[in-house]
């Protein structure tokens, strides 16, 4: 299974490019799942069909779904609240449950929901040859791609700190109760932190795996788009991720921008998607459009 992320500035044509890409991969005989994790979904318009959280077959080998991020935030908060209630039985007396209602607006929860959704899709549909993610605009995408590494940094420090506390506790128990005290019960907080480390490490490894995970940057041939693409690539480099392909969408034949791209993004292949007079909506239009360029350049 290979995972492909389509990233880029809002409105450059990520959804359309991912749909064309997915279509061509399926046409070449692969099983492909295209999943929109953008809170503002476009795929149902592009494929002109109703889509939901369950993959819908739109053609042989290609199924499409749109992830509901709000549902993930809700599910996550409900699970936490349930666990919280089990531990803090008295909390209802202080109306603490009301606090959970406002938690859904906490900064950072949206990107966490994206991560949960992503993890779920990858686990559920690992039998597909390709899973393609149509991502939200840059800001949110970079945040969720950075989330595993950022979380790991925090968790690594927390685990060290917790271990130090536990070591000292062990000394006290040993002095007080003799050697018997050495068998202290495993700390639930440390257990939970270690579980979280395993989860985030897996995701960080997946994002940084340059063989099975590809990031395709979509941009338009204009200065703003070029400038943002440079920033995105630099930020991805910090996260040890590389961009092997750039899709130059709405390309009008100006080769000078391609030269700039080749100089700026060394080792990145530029794929040109020509500007189309009419919108690409519906499977027929995708097919028609796909015929107009060399499919070989899409082969991995």
């Amino acid at each position: 299974m290979k995972v492909i992320f389509f990233i880029g500035k809002g409105g450059v044509g990520k959804s359309t490019s991912s749909a064309i890409f997915a279509y061509n991969l399926a046409k070449a005989g692969n099983t492909v799942l295209l999943d929109s994790i953008d809170p503002a979904h476009n795929l149902h318009d592009i494929f002109s069909t109703k889509l939901g959280v369950v993959p819908k077959n739109v053609m042989d080998g290609l199924s499409v779904m749109e992830t509901n991020l709000d549902q993930w935030v809700k599910k996550y908060l409900q699970e936490t609240e349930k666990e919280f209630k089990e531990v803090y039985k008295y909390q209802e007396a202080f109306n603490l449950h009301k606090y959970f209602r406002t938690l859904k607006y906490s900064p950072g929860l949206e990107e966490y929901a994206v991560l949960l959704a992503l993890q779920d899709t990858i686990e559920k549909y690992s039998d597909r040859d390709y899973i393609i993610f149509d991502t939200p605009p840059t800001a949110l995408t970079l945040k969720f791609l950075a989330l595993p590494s950022v979380s790991l940094l925090w968790l690594m420090e927390l685990v060290k700190f917790r271990q130090m506390i536990l070591d000292k506790k062990e000394i006290v128990t040993k002095i007080k109760e003799g050697k018997k005290g050495a068998e202290v019960e495993k700390d639930p907080v440390l257990n939970r932190i270690e579980d979280l480390i395993r989860v985030y490490q897996k995701l960080a490894d997946l994002f940084a795996d340059s063989i099975d995970t590809k990031i395709i940057l979509v941009m338009n041939p204009d200065k703003l788009s070029l400038s943002e693409s440079r920033d995105i690539t630099a930020q991805l480099m910090d996260l040890k991720m590389t961009v092997p392909y750039i899709i130059l969408n709405k390309f009008e034949g100006d080769e000078s921008i391609c030269k700039t791209l080749e100089n700026d993004f060394i080792g990145t292949e530029v794929i040109r998607f020509k500007k189309n007079d009419s919108e690409i909506i519906g499977l027929d239009r995708i097919e028609e459009y796909s015929l107009s360029f060399d499919l070989n350049q899409l082969q991995d």
Binding site: Y76, L77, T80, E83, F84, E86, V87, Y88, L103, S106, P107, G108, L109, Y112, L147, V150, S151, W154, L155, E157, L158, F161, R162, M164, I165, K168, K169, I171, V172, I175, K176, P188, V189, R192, I193, L196
Partner: protein, 99 residues
């Protein structure tokens, strides 16, 4: 005579118990400062996680939320510390005075 015998028999037991108790007391004293340190460390650990309550930068919300249900003791400690924080010196002298 019988009474004296019983008392004499009890003396070694009492001596052993006395030294055992002395040992326990000494161990308690020896660990009191470490225990105080542990309490402080647990407090800092809670502050690290729930620092947003006091304006400190905190980890991503999802980490805080996932550990929150397991941290009742630390939270309690954190709130107690709020009450005693203005008088940390007396707290320390109290601990040192007991040793």
């Amino acid at each position: 005579m019988d009474n004296i015998k019983i008392i004499l028999k009890k003396i070694p037991v009492a001596v052993i118990e006395f030294f055992q108790d002395m040992g326990t007391v000494n161990r308690e004293n020896a660990t009191r400062i470490i225990e105080y340190e542990i309490e402080e460390l647990e407090h800092i650990f809670a502050l690290l996680l729930f620092g947003s309550f006091t304006g400190m930068p905190s980890p991503p919300v999802h980490i805080t939320l996932q550990l929150l249900p397991l941290m009742e003791k630390e939270l309690e400690l954190m709130f107690t510390k709020v009450a005693t924080a203005h008088d940390a010196l007396s707290e320390i002298t109290e601990i040192l005075g007991e040793v």
